[in-house]
């Protein structure tokens, strides 16, 4: 029942928001996200006690598809992430003005419902439904509230991801036709059917399904939609895209590809690792030369996701634990960075690093938060990023023969990451003081949002065990 609530609360409050005319919609959104967070916290707690919860009811019997949800460690972790991130977004934006707030918040909540559904679906067709349901509101959000050139950029993003989803759909239908006896889309049946397939079939089927998720993550060379989309989207939507929707891609690989097509995964491992590593270095280099902070963070996100993707295919247990943890950490850290960037844009009226400076003098609290979050994103010890990256690099020393070279090159990403992140901090926080358009350090709601983020960063940096316990069962299942 918890699982159903996780989808129903945002869905219903999202639909309801469209009907509210006044600013009261912000309160509704805040209450709804808070309620969702509480429920996802409960789910995570019960999963921590090793109780996977399920919910299932018939949906289209003729197709063998059921409305079935499952909350295991990985789902609970990502639902928790979604809950936290959405709450922070709503908190921080509570004192900001948007046009037509009812439609804006309605779409945001619908996107949240879609995301929750993706993370919980235990039925391939249901998964596909939610996968698209999460995309449509984001398409509307970017196209209506985005910046300059928003329509063509969002259109490219939409078509790109839609092509991927259709290929995935073809793969899923193919798998469901292979299920024994009656057609079925249940996760267990799909796994069973997939792993029985001959190796040659698994090879092309893997490619078909992986493209969808590679576009979403994004993995080089499927990343071209990403920097533009992040740049033109309004920042709350960028947060949804980068903290949550990219996790959909990685999550889908871990849930719907790796266990389903093991032979295919082995066949493509080298290709994917090479592509990911190219992506890490390439995106990091591009990030260094950016002057727009939003684009810089967009490229850095490609690098971080590339590392996670590479490790996910490394077949190492420690690495997989690290990937799970880092999925959560990356979501938290990048949310923090975006929140600060939106404050910078709000106060200075620009995102160009060359025109910024002296935040430490003019808004010290904001500067402290920015430095802490950025350091977490370059994986300084005692922050959450360190634990995750350490485990992932540990995993990169895996079984495959070329892994040392891979590790060295991927390690470059960390160094380059430090270069662009520290450069960003230096240019915005220190140096000559640039006058603000709108004066003021953190407002109370912004402080509360950042407090949550930084609290998690420090807590998981010192004591990551609860998160590892939550996901250990799933990562052990993935790496036999």
């Amino acid at each position: 029942m918890n699982l159903l609530l996780l989808i129903l609360i945002p869905l219903l409050s999202g639909i309801f928001s469209f009907g509210i005319r006044e600013e009261g919609v912000k309160i509704l959104a805040l209450v709804s996200t808070l309620a969702t967070l509480v429920v996802s916290g409960l789910l995570a707690f019960s999963c921590g006690c090793n109780m996977a919860t399920t919910f299932s009811m018939p949906w289209i019997p003729d197709l063998g598809t059921r409305f079935s949800l499952m909350g295991d460690g990985m789902s609970a972790m990502l639902c928790l992430l979604t809950g936290i991130v959405m709450l922070v977004v709503m908190l921080v934006n509570n004192n900001k003005h948007v046009d037509r707030p009812n439609a804006f918040y309605g779409h945001m909540l619908l996107a949240q419902a879609g995301l929750m559904g993706v993370f919980l679906a235990n039925d391939a067709l249901l998964f596909y439904f939610f996968w698209e349901l999460a995309l449509i509101p984001v398409y509307f959000l970017c196209s209506q509230w985005g910046g300059e050139k928003r329509i063509p950029v969002t259109f490219k993003f939409f078509i790109y991801t839609f092509v991927g989803s259709l290929l995935m759909l073809a793969g899923l239908i193919y798998l469901s036709v292979q299920t024994p006896g009656l057609r079925s889309f249940a996760w267990q049946d799909i796994i069973h059917a997939g792993s029985q397939l001959p190796a040659a079939t698994q090879h092309w089927l893997f490619a078909l399904m992986f493209v969808a998720f590679a576009i979403k993550m994004p993995i080089f060379p499927f990343h071209t939609w990403q920097p533009d989309t992040y740049e033109v989207s309004p920042t709350p939507v960028t947060i949804i895209l980068s903290a949550l929707m990219v996790k959909m891609g990685l999550y889908a690989v871990l849930r719907w590809v790796l266990p389903v097509l093991p032979e295919g995964a082995i066949y493509w491992t080298d290709t994917i690792i090479v592509l990911s590593v190219i992506g890490i270095v390439y995106a990091s280099c591009l990030a260094i030369v950016q002057t727009d902070i939003k684009r810089l963070v967009a490229y850095s996100s490609i690098a971080h996701m590339g590392l996670m993707a590479a490790v996910a295919f490394m077949n190492s247990k420690v690495g997989m634990h690290g990937v799970m943890l880092q999925m959560f950490n990356h979501g938290i850290n990048i949310t923090g960075i975006w929140v600060i960037i939106s404050m910078i844009e709000n106060r200075w009226g620009t995102r160009d690093m060359r025109q910024l400076g002296g935040m430490a003098t003019s808004a010290p609290k904001m500067a402290i938060a920015f430095v802490v979050i950025s350091l977490a994103s370059v994986a300084l010890p005692l922050t959450n990023g360190f634990v995750g990256e350490f485990m992932m690099f540990n995993g990169l020393f895996g079984t495959s023969s070329c892994s040392h070279i891979v590790m060295v090159i991927a390690g470059l990403g960390v160094i380059l990451g430090a270069v662009y992140t520290l450069n960003m901090i230096q240019k915005t926080t220190y140096g000559e003081v640039v006058a603000m358009n709108i004066k003021g350090d953190l407002a109370f709601n912004e402080f509360a949002g950042l407090f949550i983020i930084i609290g998690i960063i420090i807590f998981l940096g010192v004591y990551p065990q609860p998160m590892l316990d939550l996901t250990s069962a799933v990562s052990s299942m993935l790496i036999k």
């Binding site: 003729d62 329509i151 259109f155 759909l169 078909l208």
Partner: protein, 457 residues
């Protein structure tokens, strides 16, 4: 088959009502009432039919299965929806209002024959009864040159394709010594096949390709659909086409199922060509009406999947595709006729001015593009599933999905215009509360088909 007789009688009544009644409004009201009655009668047909064995009627000329009767119900109900949504525009096409409705009744007669034929002669008569009123409707805006051109083009090409079909029927008759499609099953065998039958089947495929506007016989479609008065385009592109598809499926899956190894390759090639031409050409259109003409070619490509897959799933596929595609397209046309300017720019800023029109158009567009939670997704899903079960044609499925992604480009331009661009759209006729309620109902049907497709099966 009470509906068959009722449709004919109602058609005649409508024709004479033009003499007795002079008020357009009351003629339209009568028509809507008669369509509602006809829907009731076709439901009655379905309920009163024995569930197990098919009935044979008129010396084995017609064979009624539950599935065909159900298809009749769906098409009649879709026509009722169509008339309710568009009767105001039909009234304003020309001066012979009663006749337009009468012709639609006759088309339904043809559809009933096509859904239940058991004999090639009935198929031929059904096709003719379906087509001839459509030629007239295409030209019903008499003083408009484009409409007359559309009608003439449609008639000439249509007559030609009917000739080809007759030729095909004759050749198959020569090989099978019968017009009864059940005899084909026993007379035509894959191993010892008379070449004459093969040639006949090829001709029939060509003729059907014309009727369903599949490439390479699609050339007439854009001009005819663009030139014909918009309310009648809505009918021809949806219900008329769906019925032709059902007949196509019925003939090939019942009569020629044993020979499927001989004709599936041709159908596969036609499918690929149709998808390619329909989708790629639609991208370049500037008028939404013309885009919908090409999109109807593209959608025909998907419906051809049902013909390609000779199995039970294909029947479900064609029924849900016919329902989902018809409802969404009729809905989109009923939004289109409210606007003065049929180009994409004419839709600019519609969301601000008429939120309900824009919202429902968005739902219909989602459905046509095959976004989940709408009927269009389920329709595409079922036909693809049918082909997938058949095995072998994975390349075609992937190609079709890529083409579906292309279709998103031109469908979503409508959404981009309505929601993201600023403008002041010119509304042709005021949008009443009744219109909004009907559009809302149509949206509900589209969504319902996407959530619970088992309702139409």
């Amino acid at each position: 088959m009470k509906a068959l007789i009722a449709a004919t009688v109602f058609g005649v009544i409508m024709m004479f009502s033009g003499i007795v009644m002079h008020n357009r409004k009351s003629i339209a009201t009568l028509a809507v009432a008669l369509f509602a009655v006809l829907t009731g009668i076709s439901v009655w047909d379905l309920i009163s039919a024995p569930c197990d064995a098919p009935q044979l009627l008129f010396n084995n000329m017609l064979r009624l299965e539950n599935l065909s009767l159900w298809f009749c119900v769906l098409m009649t109900a879709a026509t009722l929806l169509y008339v309710m949504l568009l009767h105001k525009e039909i009234e304003n096409v020309g001066s012979h209002v009663a006749e337009y409705f009468a012709l639609i009744f006759f088309i339904l007669t043809g559809i009933y024959l096509l859904a239940t034929f058991n004999n090639m002669l009935m198929l031929f008569i059904g096709i003719e009864i379906l087509s001839i009123p459509q030629y007239i409707l295409a030209g019903s805006d008499k003083y408009n040159l484009k409409s007359s051109e559309a009608s003439l083009k449609y008639f000439l090409m249509g007559a030609f394709s009917t000739g080809i079909m007759l030729m095909g029927i004759t050749l198959v008759y020569g090989a099978a010594h019968s017009f009864n499609i059940m005899d084909f099953v026993s007379m035509l065998h894959s191993e010892s096949l008379n070449p004459m039958a093969l040639a006949g089947i090829l001709f029939i495929i060509m003729a059907f390709s014309f009727k369903v506007s599949a490439a390479p016989m699609h050339m007439w479609t854009p001009d005819v659909y663009d030139g014909a008065p918009t309310p009648f385009t809505a009918f021809m592109a949806t219900i008329g086409k769906a019925a032709a598809f059902f007949a196509f499926l019925r003939l090939f899956h019942v009569a020629f199922a044993n020979l499927s190894s001989h004709w599936t390759t041709i159908i596969a090639i036609i499918t690929a060509a149709t998808l390619f031409i329909g989708n790629i050409t639609a991208v370049f259109q500037q008028s939404v009406k013309r885009m919908l003409a090409y999109s109807s070619i593209a959608q025909a490509g998907f419906m051809l999947f049902a013909v390609l897959a000779v199995n039970a799933a294909a029947w479900h596929g064609i029924i849900i595709y016919a329902a989902a595609y018809s409802v969404a397209t009729i809905g989109l046309f009923s939004v289109l006729v409210k606007l003065k300017d049929y180009t994409y720019d004419g839709f600019n800023g519609l969301a601000k001015k008429e939120p309900m029109l824009a919202f429902s158009a968005a739902i219909f567009v989602f459905s046509l593009a095959g976004i989940p939670l709408t009927g269009g997704f389920m329709a595409k899903y079922y036909v693809l599933l049918a082909v997938m079960q058949q095995g072998h044609q994975m390349w075609l499925i992937i190609f079709a999905l890529l083409m579906a992604a292309v279709s998103v480009y031109y469908y979503f331009r409508v959404i981009a215009a309505m929601y993201f661009k600023a403008g002041d759209p010119q509304i042709a006729s005021p949008v009443t509360l009744g219109d909004k309620l009907l559009l809302g109902l149509t949206c509900l049907i589209v969504l319902l088909l996407g959530i619970a497709p088992q309702l139409v099966m």
